[in-house]
């Protein structure tokens, strides 16, 4: 066979820039003397910023989806939005990390190398349209995170979180693979569009083998997005990891899993929506309840945010689940991705606040954070905004996200949609209890005697930048929700390509 390969380098330029940055970070780490390793961080920051630029040109140039590598890889507006999200989140995580990594004995250049590798995996997932590419993307996104979650080598909690994350992560990957192997056996194809065509033509969409593969893939990705009953690793791993890594795990890793789930469900199984839809409805409802009820009892801020992010995953999943039952994928994907994007920035902000307050008070117990607003007024304002946004208070971004989800659930007219909307409304109230409790403690409670507040400046300037960017996006999303109409068009293009 004569191979005739011509590669459109412009279409994959932001991935290529990330690859070059990865190589550059590892080289700089090798060559620089121990004192000036700071430059590794600068290279990583610069590289992730530069990799954002091609996305803008691609956005302007590609009105329709561009198919690369014989259908395996697609560049469309939907994937560009998600890539932009991944790059921005990684950039903010770098800013969160700089001082954190430096403040420990753990300051090492590989940190940036691993985080950038994970970013590359996420970028590949957003564009992938065949099983092999998608699987490599998922693995590339999650394998570096196993190592990063165990970054604090001497800390037993970090070790324990890492081994739990690793074992369940690899198990989930093998479940996904078993599902893929069944699909390959059924259809003899790896590319999603071909698979769904053959499933439709041979009338296999609801055959037991196809549904078994769908459930195996669902279970596997369920681990990645930490929905109930696959959530048990998340609080432990989040608690053990360094805080910037936790922020990245709860935002970017989760988003990668959701993107993979959306691509698989709508590109391979669009015809069997009524089967996986009901499973997702149950998972989504359970996730909201168990996440929120567990978060209520937490006094450790990181575990609280871990359970809160589990509950938020239930909200992200809900419109997708209902779209399977009603068949209106466009609205479901639009609502899920809108929630995902707004959630990403408010959650990053929440982790920033927790990071600063733990450093200020030296305490891992939120009930000892009384009166911290006097020492950290700006952080207290951040805390109020981000936690109220997570709870869904207008005019913050979290309100618009919840609004879109509820609109999608109710407009479907399905009985399941209305049930999920009721469950969601109950959970929004439960969530408000623990989100508002933190603000109340910081602003109103008397200072605790068990802690000694550090006089050092803990809200360093890179952290301030993260705070203000997240703040700006959270407010913009709430006040100018029209911005998200682009996403609606992108979602319809995504489905029709």
């Amino acid at each position: 066979m004569e191979a005739n390969i011509s590669i459109n380098y412009f279409a994959i330029s932001s991935e290529l820039i990330v690859v070059f940055t990865i190589i550059a970070t590892i080289f700089f780490d090798l060559l620089l003397p121990r004192k000036s390793k700071f430059y590794v961080a600068l290279v990583a920051l610069l590289g992730s910023l530069v990799s954002f630029i091609p996305l803008i040109f691609q956005w302007v140039n590609y009105e329709n989806a561009l198919v690369l590598f014989e259908g395996s890889y697609i560049v469309d507006k939907f994937s560009l939005i998600l890539k932009g999200l991944f790059i921005l989140v990684t950039y903010l995580t770098f800013l969160l990390s700089i001082n954190f990594i430096e403040s420990d004995r753990y300051y090492q250049g590989e940190y940036y190398y691993l985080l950038l590798s994970s970013l590359l995996g996420a970028l590949v997932v957003a564009s992938s349209r065949d099983m092999l590419t998608l699987f490599i993307g998922i693995e590339l996104a999650s394998a570096p995170m196993f190592l990063l979650s165990g970054w604090k080598k001497g800390d037993q909690k970090s070790n324990e979180g890492a081994i739990k994350f690793f074992l369940l992560g690899v198990l989930s990957a093998s479940l996904i693979l078993y599902g893929f192997s069944l699909l390959y056996g059924l259809t003899g194809e790896l590319i999603f569009s071909e698979i769904s065509k053959i499933l439709l033509v041979k009338n296999l969409s609801t055959s037991p083998a196809a549904l078994l593969s769908a459930m195996l893939i669902l279970a596997g990705i369920g681990f990645k997005i930490s929905v109930v009953p696959f959530h048990s690793w998340a609080p432990d791993t989040y608690e053990g990891s360094p805080l910037p890594v936790t922020a990245y795990l709860s935002v970017s890793s989760k988003a990668t899993g959701f993107v993979a789930l959306m691509i698989i469900l709508t590109k391979i199984y669009p015809e069997s929506g009524s089967s996986w839809g009901i499973v997702l409805v149950i998972i989504s409802g359970l996730t909201m309840f168990i996440g929120n009820l567990s978060a209520l009892q937490q006094s450790n801020p990181v575990r609280l945010l871990a359970y809160s992010s589990i509950a938020q995953a239930g909200f992200i999943l809900a419109p997708l689940a209902i779209s399977g039952i009603s068949g209106d994928y466009e609205d479901g994907i639009y609502a899920s991705v809108t929630y995902l994007i707004i959630y990403a920035f408010m959650n990053l902000g929440a982790f920033l606040v927790v990071n600063v307050l733990i450093n200020t008070s030296g305490s891992n117990d939120i009930y000892e954070w009384g009166g911290l607003s006097k020492h950290q007024p700006l952080t207290a304002i951040f805390a109020t905004v981000f936690f109220f946004s997570l709870a869904g208070i207008p005019p913050l971004g979290g309100w618009f996200a919840k609004f879109v989800v509820f609109r999608s659930l109710l407009s479907s007219g399905e009985i399941f949609g209305i049930t999920l909307a009721v469950i969601g409304a109950i959970n929004a109230v439960i969530g408000l209890v623990f989100y508002a409790r933190i603000s109340k403690i910081i602003w109103m409670d008397a200072p605790s005697e068990n802690i000694t507040v550090t006089t050092k400046n803990t809200l360093l300037s890179p952290l301030k930048v993260v705070g203000f960017i997240s703040l700006a996006i959270t407010f913009m999303a709430g006040i100018f929700p029209n911005l998200f109409s682009y996403l609606g068009n992108a979602a319809s293009l995504f489905l029709n390509s």
């Binding site: 037993q156 909690k157 890492a162 081994i163 074992l167 198990l171 093998s174 056996g185 609080p235």
Partner: protein, 101 residues
Amino acid sequence: MSVQPFLIAAAGLFSIGIYGILVRRNVVMVLLSIELILNAVNINFVVFDAMLRDAMLQGQIFTIFIITIAAAEVGIGLAIVLMLFRNRKTANINEFDLMKW
């Protein structure tokens, strides 16, 4: 050629692997169980590739990728296990219980 025996063998390996993950207490044995599952997947891909007479050998190519990734993952896993063993002097999963709820 009947593919059923091969598929049943692969499903058996898959089940043994899941059983091992649930029951085995030693981390290294759990890692081995995960390898069993991945090899079940490999058998599936190769058998389906042969059954379908795929001209592009997609199943076999997928298998090679899985073998490579499995090797990388075991590398990561053993590094984490080694780190744990240094700090705890044990590789028993039941004793990793610092964090609950």
